[in-house]
Amino acid sequence: MINIKNLYKTYGNKDIETHVLQGIDLKVPEGEFLGIMGKSGAGKSTLMYQIGLLDHPTSGEIILNGVNTEKLSTEERTKLRLTELGYVFQDYALIPELTASENVIIPLLMQGKTIEEARDIVQETLSQVGLSHRAFNKPSQLSGGEQQRVSIARAIAHNPKILFADEPTANLDTVSGKSIIELFRDLNKKGQTIVMVTHEEEYAKYCDRIVSLEDGKIVRENIQKQK
């Protein structure tokens, strides 16, 4: 599903260069729940942004479902993000003037779904994340946990092949954080491939496999025994 070869990412110019990713090789099979861990500045979010096509690596290859993404045009990358990838951000990243259901419906409309089809999907997805009663609330009227659930609903509504989550529990209290992780686990059980960046050990145990980064390199890989 995901095949990363010799991936490098360097920021800055010739005078001051920061090598954030240094030769990452990683494969993620379909249906895996992968956790990426590491200290702050280790490069875990940067790695996720490269795999999630939100940024371009300095060198190396990212192959998603057999497609070398670096050979795609900007428009093709946007389309791939729309149809095959889903994102959950640390700060929820919801559009403030839209209601929960409107936040979820936008990518569906962009895909060309009719308004009726899209509404049905939104209703079903919000129900799946336990928020059907909050469909017409704006983000400012929702708790942090609820906002993250809306964010997840938006990310999964179009059945993406891969779901990316960048520290999805970082801004949440323990109870909300746990419920979000359990939601991810349930999705994964249904076959959803998930790549999650986290620095919280207690949530890492839900992953199938943990890769640990240090100074832009994978230093450890742990395959979990118990999900």
Partner: protein, 423 residues
């Protein structure tokens, strides 16, 4: 087909986002922007409309009070219009003509205050003008001449020896024009004046003073047709002007009436002109110049409006840069996001413009028609032809679309991740 669907999706999402953003934005800000758009539109339409209206108001008055829809005047170098009787009969038999005034003109010298003139070294109080002999009922029906009597009374066919004098022949009315007109002093209704045509002099009692902004009325003196022929010793009884008005319900145009008169062979006898042809060329030149001036002023307004929209959209897009990045991140196309801003610009411009259209046609045009601007040479109205107004409306729309697109494009094209992370 796929391309069509893609654009449909882009438009649909753009519209969806624009609608929510407008709904979610501050009402006070929205009202202010719409207000600015309305003022810009009014500036575009009203300034040039008023400037043109100064000339147009004069033209309209000229038509209503002097030429009618078609006028036949004496050919240059001729004393009168030949075959006048035949022309009059022909016009009166034209079913589409509702009013006809036949005018008889002669150059005259009017002298006032001659009874009180004691010093013969002082020049007599005289003014040169044209005296016009008219059928009172016909002229009043065509031009409403009696409405312009500001002092005294209108003439009466049953009376003789009375004269109506145009206000600009009198000093107290024409003083504002400086020494432009040779004018008479202290002439009031009831006063006696001497009217001289060639060697022939007769006295008339001033029956009334007429004041309009049409020189052919306010710089002439009027008597009944009978008094005219008592005063003027001219061979033949030919007329000098035929002014005619087309019946209100008639579908014939002034050009067609003129064409019919030309076909009848009267072009050899008199100069046949429609009301628009009778407008002096310099007035048309002024009209064009005023129109250009109005458009230049309007363009300044357009620039101000486009800068306003640019700033509004730019600030909106900059403050929402993170969300623009997120939308791009989740796969919303750049075009859809840009179009959402274009739709917002269209909203501001079209709402402002439509309110402007309402203000122009429901308020300003009727107001200026009822209360024209009082200029020395005309009663200024607001001229706003619908085609011209629509053109300006779409011009405003086009400019604001561009002004909205540029800042949106600037922000949308920024790196997606940088936008999301606020870098």
């Amino acid at each position: 087909m796929q391309m069509k669907n893609k654009w449909m999706n882009v438009l649909r999402v753009g519209w969806f986002l624009a609608l929510r953003q407008i709904k979610g934005s501050s009402r006070a800000t929205t009202v202010l922007i719409v207000f600015i758009m309305m003022l810009t539109f009014l500036n575009l339409v009203v300034v040039s409309g008023i400037l043109i209206g100064l000339i147009e108001g004069g033209n309209r008055a000229n038509k209503e009070q002097y030429t009618g829809d078609v006028i036949i005047t004496t050919l240059s170098g001729e004393e009168d219009i030949a075959h006048s009787h035949e022309i009059e009969n022909t016009i009166r038999n034209m079913s589409d003509i509702s009013d006809l005034s036949v005018r008889y003109l002669a150059p005259v010298q009017i002298e006032a205050n001659y009874r009180t003139r004691r010093d013969f070294d002082v020049l007599p109080d005289t003014a040169g003008t044209q005296i016009v002999g008219i059928s009172l009922a016909d002229e009043d029906s065509l031009s409403g001449l009696s409405k312009f009597v500001v002092e005294g009374q209108f003439l009466d066919e049953s009376e003789s020896g009375y004269i109506l004098i145009g206000a600009n022949l009198l000093y107290r009315y024409s003083a504002g024009f400086g020494d432009f007109f040779a004018s008479l002093e202290g002439v009031y209704p009831g006063d006696e004046v001497k009217v001289t045509v060639g060697e022939n002099t007769k006295t008339f009692i001033v029956k009334g003073i007429m004041d309009t902004k049409v020189d052919q009325v306010s710089l002439r003196a009027f008597v009944t047709k009978a008094d005219f022929w008592r005063l003027v010793d001219r061979t033949g009884l030919n007329a000098n002007e035929f002014a005619m008005k087309i019946a209100p319900n008639s579908k014939i145009t002034a050009d067609e009436v003129k064409s019919n008169l030309v076909k009848a062979g009267f072009a050899d006898d008199g100069k046949i002109q429609t009301d628009t042809e009778a407008i002096p060329d310099f007035l048309n030149q002024i009209r064009i110049a005023f129109g250009l001036l109005g458009n230049v002023i309007g363009m300044v307004g357009i620039v101000v409006a486009s800068i306003t929209i640019f700033i509004v959209i730019f600030i909106n897009a900059v403050t929402r840069r993170k969300y623009i990045g997120i939308m791009k991140g989740i796969g919303i196309s750049e075009r859809a996001i840009e179009i959402s801003y274009i739709f917002q610009s269209i909203f501001y411009a079209s709402v402002g413009g439509l309110i402007g259209v309402f203000v122009v046609y429901a308020m300003l045009v009727p107001f200026f028609y009822a209360h024209p601007l009082d200029f020395p040479f005309s009663d200024g109205i607001l001229v706003a032809p619908i085609a011209d107004t629509m053109l300006k409306f779409f011009l405003l729309l086009f400019v604001t679309i561009i002004a909205g697109y540029i800042p949106a494009r600037q922000i949308v094209k920024k790196n997606t991740l940088d936008s999301i992370l606020g870098r």
